[in-house]
């Protein structure tokens, strides 16, 4: 069931890993593997949503802002209920006070994070489906809206979340596997199952392949697209929860370009930018590609900003290869 593109990207991952490991063997240690896996989790969750949307011929570039907003909404709510504030001195955040009523605060925070993500996904979906706004434009607008609300809520400060989220989830490992990685792995399996086995997946691909065909088959394409945006938004909410659970502080600004990495990873993995093709495991290997580059470059002492350059180049090369192959296949048909 693994597509050829996924196989090739996995191969590139291995080569990259070997190259970086030759320079710094720590990458091949358990700790190295854990770092790569953990650092992949948030973009992977965003990439799973992007993969589904791309399969249906849609985009959501607001999922990074959604992640940030969800984490800030959740933390604001938790601070309010728990009697905590955050102040920033010289750009560094400090928690003022200690969290009370943790048994109440944490479930409320988790719920707020997920609801915030789902609501923003719903808003995106309604804009695209009801108002028929192009998904790129609609989610670009929502990106801006979410960024603004995030700033208003946080005052531009990285808010302090309860450290119990770290010990209870973000930094928790079960049988050596970090809990956030388990969440992401479960999401991948679910993505694969839905795409490969269910009519939901097949219909998603149908509407990406030829929207009119899906409409004329009697499928409620609008409702289906709405559900896809809600799923992508919900996954961004989960990613936001993982973000505050790992770092105990929000860092909304750091995630604004995450959707670009997520969409790039999906496309590098073989999911078609124009819809109709999804490569579930390709998305995983695409995300790993971006993480291996980041971790490898950092270990080499190179600024991780070069990662953006390299990913950009890889994306352009890969897409041009796919396009050439596609055109050749269509000419041959």
């Amino acid at each position: 069931m693994i597509r050829r593109s996924a196989f090739w990207v996995a191969l590139i991952d291995l080569v990259l890993l070997a190259v970086f490991a030759a320079m710094n063997p720590v990458l091949l240690s358990i700790q190295g593997a854990r770092t790569i896996a953990l650092d992949s989790v948030e973009v992977l969750l965003l990439a799973i949503g992007s993969t589904l949307l791309l399969g249906a011929g849609k985009f959501d570039i607001s999922i990074g802002a959604n992640l940030g907003l969800s984490s800030v909404v959740a933390t604001s709510v938790m601070q309010h209920v728990g009697g905590v504030t955050t102040i920033a001195q010289y750009g560094v955040s400090h928690q003022v006070g200690t969290y009370h009523h943790l048994a109440l605060v944490i479930p409320i925070g988790v719920a707020a994070c997920l609801v915030s993500g789902l609501l923003m996904g719903t808003a995106n979906g309604l804009l695209v489906v009801r108002l028929r706004v192009n998904s790129l434009i609609a989610t670009l607008g929502m990106l801006s809206v979410a960024e603004g609300i995030t700033f208003v809520l946080s005052g531009g400060v990285n808010l302090a979340a309860p450290t119990e989220l770290q010990s209870g989830f973000g930094l928790l490992s079960i049988a050596g596997i970090p809990a956030p990685v388990m969440v992401a792995a479960a999401a991948v399996v679910l993505l694969w199952f839905v795409v490969a086995k269910t009519s939901f997946g097949m219909r998603t691909l149908a509407m990406g392949s030829e929207p009119e065909a899906a409409v004329r088959a009697g499928i409620d394409v609008g409702r289906h697209q709405l559900v896809l945006f809600v799923i992508a938004g919900g996954l961004a909410g989960v990613a936001g929860l993982i973000d505050i659970s790992r770092f105990a502080f929000t860092n909304a600004a750091a995630h604004l370009t995450d959707p670009l990495a997520a969409i790039a990873a999906a496309v590098i993995g073989g999911t078609a930018l124009s819809g109709g093709i999804i490569s579930s495991f390709g998305t995983v290997f695409g995300v790993l590609l971006t993480t291996i580059l980041e971790v490898g470059l950092v270990l080499m002492g190179v600024s991780s900003y070069y990662q953006l350059v390299v990913i950009g180049v890889v994306l352009i090369v890969v897409v041009s290869i796919y396009e050439t192959r596609r055109r050749r296949a269509e000419a041959g048909a």
Binding site: K197, T198, S199, F200, M202, R203, L205, A206, G208, S209, E210, E212, A213, A214, V215, R216, A217, G218, I219, D220, A272, G275, G276, I277, E330, A333
Partner: protein, 272 residues
């Protein structure tokens, strides 16, 4: 606005006196283009209605209105007991109407069997129903059967439609429409991409479908071949029906004359 309320799909009528599908005084325009003007047309169970007209006459627009893909601006659609100012696709399908669209409306990335069952998926009973886990094996078997029923054999039903030839795609679209129709099959130029032998197969399919007491409406430029199977003929010109009657009253020359407007609009027509 449309009102689909309060009507339930009726069983197909056996009596030839009652139309399986009828449009009454339908108008449709696209911006400044008046595609249909006061069109009334009925298709009867067990009969083949051939619809002729030059390019742009409004044939496809009429077909799309009859299968729910387009809503008319004014007029009425009647399907058995159901009567409304328009049909949704879902309503048309639940009333047993299926169409072969001129553009085929297949999803090129999906396999043949997936296209055949899109919107009518079969699920594996071993899994909980809400998961909608596809039973691709049964879908493949039934797709092969549906294709065989119209005497088509594909090397595999597991290939994406984009890998098929134009003729094979057309065959898939025809087989799909026939597979799901319970009342009427509308075919918009079903032989356009086909050679002689395959066109004959489509004509056989049309005949067999009508024999199963379904109404068949077929749009085609292959007038002689369609006259072989048609019971009724309608000719369109500039968005109007300019002649409508028993196929026996029509010859190739008369139809062509009507299509290009050589015969006046008051030419004899069957008022049924």
């Amino acid at each position: 606005m449309r009102s689909d309320a309060g009507r339930s799909p009726a069983a197909p009528q056996a009596s030839p006196a009652e139309a399986a599908l009828a449009v009454v005084d339908v108008c449709k325009s696209f911006g400044h283009v008046q595609a249909l003007t006061d069109v009334s047309l009925s298709a009867y169970p067990g009969q083949v209605l051939a619809l002729f007209g030059d390019n742009g006459a409004g044939k496809s627009t009429l077909m799309k209105i009859m299968c729910g893909a387009l809503q008319p601006d004014t007029g009425t659609i009647r399907v058995g007991d159901y009567e409304a100012p328009g049909l949704s696709i879902q309503r048309a399908q639940s009333l047993g109407i299926q169409a072969v669209y001129q553009d085929l409306s297949l999803a090129p990335h999906l396999m043949v069997l997936e296209n055949m069952f899109l919107g009518h998926e079969l699920y594996r009973s071993r899994w909980p129903g809400f998961l909608h886990v596809l039973d691709r094996r049964r879908m493949a078997m039934e797709t092969v059967e549906a294709l065989e029923r119209i005497s088509i054999r594909l090397p595999s039903v597991h290939v994406p439609v984009m890998k098929l030839s134009g003729g094979q795609r057309q065959a898939v679209a025809v087989a799909r429409a026939v597979r799901w129709a319970r009342r009427a099959v509308l075919m918009d130029e079903p032989t356009a991409a086909l050679g002689r032998v395959q066109s004959d197969l489509v004509v056989d399919t049309i005949r067999a479908t009508a024999r199963a007491n379904l109404a068949v409406v077929v749009v085609s430029h292959d007038i002689p071949r369609m006259l072989e199977v048609a019971d009724q003929v309608a000719v369109m010109r500039h968005g109007r029906i300019v002649a409508h009657g028993s196929a026996a009253d029509f010859t190739l020359a008369r139809i062509v004359g009507l299509m290009v407007g050589e015969e006046s609009r008051t030419a004899p027509r069957d008022e049924r």
